[in-house]
């Protein structure tokens, strides 16, 4: 009797797997699962969602082409994540503060940066960061944006901006960073309007989601911080939009933070800098995800409704492509950043020592 355990840890652990099904409006077979939610969208809305996804995929394809031509710097491929990225960002307003990670360049453009600025960011030019969008630059340090989102959200609240939130993205690997927890915990402790979006695309470079954590879902990582969280089908743009919109509405009503885990997939490599996914995943593993493609799903719905055609899509893609080619031309025309300017923007007022360096470089640069 004395050896009888006072608590059944295995039962507690098993109970963690009792989670609601991810939210879905359109399933993999393009069937409407939630008719009420579906009916809340007009035909124009549906076409608009499709256009945004076609735009993001065209942006990806063209950027990969530029990358192969040696015309890009760092680029993190987005193919497969169109529903997750566009669905969430379209639910936001211009006054919301975006804290993106490096795979979130399409959302940054959607939020108000130009494609030219995005290309300059990729190449590594300061003008790439001087966008009008209310946003930080794509964050390279995974987790940092989660901490900062809590601060931005607190600033928004202290500014009495009633119809604004902070929204930030990380990936499945990003949830393992201590900073991700600190950021969510601070936002929860202060009840500030920060929306934490985890785009679970299955891999942190080569490390699969299952190796990141024993937690059955990443959405559960918010629970310890007292934050409501939900899983959503990240290949269903209608569900992603609807959930992000609900989160935003909840927060601007005066409530604290929310976390959303989108279940999506990175079709391509981690980055254009030599990552080869064939080293860590098989075709058998990836094919089921390609079958869930977010564009295929919505395209079928639209075609059934007579709202979309192949010609229409081809024409759009051509238009988008032309705009990206225009954008890279603009980027090509921007002269390289000067060392003297870099020194000038390190402090508000350069120190005497730096002034000497500035003079030295300006003399060289004027030659």
């Amino acid at each position: 009797m004395a050896n009888e355990p006072i608590v059944d840890f295995e039962a507690i652990k098993n109970d963690l797997t009792n989670v609601p099904k991810p939210i879905q409006i359109l399933n993999e077979n393009a069937e409407v699962i939630d008719q009420d939610a579906f009916n809340s969208f007009s035909d124009d809305d549906l076409v608009e969602f499709m256009k945004k996804m076609v735009w993001e995929r065209a942006l990806h394809n063209q950027t990969m082409n530029f990358s192969r031509q040696g015309r890009m710097g760092f680029y993190a491929p987005t193919e497969g994540e169109e529903a997750s990225e566009m669905g969430t960002v379209l639910a936001m307003k211009d006054q919301d503060y975006l804290l993106p990670a490096y795979r979130d360049v399409p959302q940054l453009i959607q939020h108000g940066a130009t494609v030219t600025e995005a290309y300059l960011w990729s190449r590594g030019h300061v003008i790439g960061n001087k966008f009008k969008a209310r946003s930080l630059m794509p964050q390279i340090i995974i987790g940092a944006a989660y901490n900062e989102a809590a601060g931005v959200a607190m600033g928004i609240k202290k500014n009495n901006e009633e119809d604004a939130i902070a929204f930030t993205y990380t990936g499945d690997g990003g949830t393992s960073q201590g900073d991700s927890y600190e950021g969510m915990n601070f936002a929860g402790a202060f009840q500030v309007p920060a929306l934490f979006i985890v785009q679970n695309n299955g891999f942190a470079i080569s490390t699969p989601r299952r190796k990141q954590t024993a937690a059955p879902t990443l959405a559960q990582k918010a629970v310890a911080a007292g934050i409501p969280s939900v899983q959503v089908d990240g290949m269903d743009i209608l569900a992603c939009y609807k959930v992000a919109k609900a989160a935003r509405d909840y927060m601007v009503a005066g409530n604290g933070p929310v976390m959303i885990e989108t279940l999506t997939y990175r079709y391509g490599a981690h980055s254009s800098a030599g990552d080869d996914p064939k080293r860590y995943r098989t075709k058998e593993e990836t094919q089921p995800w390609f079958d869930k493609d977010p564009l295929i799903r919505l395209r079928k719905i639209l075609e059934d409704k007579g709202l979309w055609s192949e010609e229409q899509e081809d024409k759009l893609v051509d238009e988008y492509k032309a705009s990206f080619k225009e954008a890279i031309k603009e980027a090509d025309a921007v002269p390289a950043d000067k060392v003297s300017d870099m020194l000038k923007r390190t402090f508000e007022i350069p120190t005497p020592e730096m002034k000497k360096e500035i003079d030295k470089f300006e003399a060289k640069e004027s030659k």
């Binding site: 960061n129 340090i141 940092a144």
Partner: protein, 325 residues
């Protein structure tokens, strides 16, 4: 004007910046109701309310991430890291984020954050409470590191730091907190950043020091004055960037220099000062640069601190060595 401790001078400065600028915010672990573990923020929450002075969860990276985000939305954060040893938890926010903000955005976005944190040996603390960690941060472009050596400077430099639009790491010396009193003018005054201070004028030799070691150097100057040796003492006040102009001017007069730091020899700003002198003023010297620093061991456990930290005796010995070269 009243006699005030280093802590009281800092409290004064915080009171003034909270009063002056409604965008200033003080936050950190235990800074609210408790007034900070050293009572540096005593009474401020009561006076300015919980919206301006507030406690945070216990996480340094979170505290400084909060500061970065608040800075981006128009606020002027003055976060406290309870002990500098804990700043390692927040290095990305200091070095990777705040220090780079102006550079990244060409001034379109900035980080007007002043991080206050106590450091320094001699009070027998637990591990990671006393180390002189300035050198981990002085190599960071875009970040100022300020280390006041006395209560008067502490107040004036802190006000300047908060008013500055770039991030400042403001290091408060633990041992000086209550061991030193100055006449502190009531109300606002500033002490300029990036400017060293000649605290003793002299002709025979220059001592360059910062933080608590300035006071040890002054003891040596007083003692040697009795022997008709005239020592000039320079207090760096801002240790990054370094005011080399004041140092060079002094060396051109004295032709001899001893650089003093409380940090280990491999871990302070003394090497940077020596290198600046080697590059910019070596021909003014008629003896090798003298250096006084702590031994290159890990910072000692409390019991051994007193004989590990370099004090006036070590400085005097080195000054005599350089004088007699």
């Amino acid at each position: 004007m009243a006699k005030k401790t280093y802590i009281q001078a800092i409290t004064d400065a915080l009171d003034i910046v909270l009063e002056d600028d409604p965008k200033t915010l003080i936050f950190g672990e235990d800074v609210g109701k408790n007034g900070g573990v050293f009572r540096t923020t005593q009474g401020l929450q009561e006076k300015y309310g919980e919206d301006r002075v507030f406690d945070t969860p216990l996480a340094e990276s979170g505290i400084l991430g909060l500061a970065t985000g608040l800075g981006l939305t128009g606020w002027r954060p003055i976060p406290e890291i309870q002990f500098m040893g804990f700043s390692f938890e927040a290095v990305d926010q200091i070095v990777g984020q705040e220090a780079r903000m102006r550079f990244r955005f060409d001034g379109q976005k900035t980080s007007p954050v002043t991080i206050r944190t106590p450091y320094g040996g001699g009070t027998h603390t637990a591990e990671m409470h006393a180390d002189n960690l300035e050198s981990y941060f002085t190599g960071t472009p875009g970040l100022r590191v300020v280390m006041p050596s006395n209560p008067y400077d502490a107040k004036g430099l802190l006000i300047s730091s908060v008013e500055n639009n770039d991030p400042v790491l403001f290091m408060e010396n633990l041992k000086l907190y209550r061991s030193m009193k100055d006449d502190i003018p009531d109300g606002k005054y500033t002490v300029p950043l990036d400017k060293a201070n000649v605290v003793r004028e002299g002709n025979d030799i220059t001592i360059v020091a910062y933080g608590a070691e300035v006071n040890e150097a002054k003891k040596v100057a007083d003692k040697l004055a009795d022997k008709n040796i005239s020592v000039e003492v320079i207090d760096l006040r801002t240790v990054s960037p370094i005011d080399t102009e004041t140092i060079f001017k002094s060396i051109e007069k004295t032709h001899k220099v001893v650089i003093v730091q409380e940090a280990q020899k491999i871990a302070g700003v003394g090497a940077q000062v020596a290198s600046a002198i080697a590059e910019g003023a070596v021909l003014s010297l008629d003896a090798p640069v003298g250096r006084v620093a702590a031994p290159n061991s890990v910072y000692p456990f409390a019991q051994s601190e007193d004989y590990w930290i370099p004090g006036a005796d070590e400085i005097e010995e080195k000054v005599n060595e350089v004088l007699n070269y």
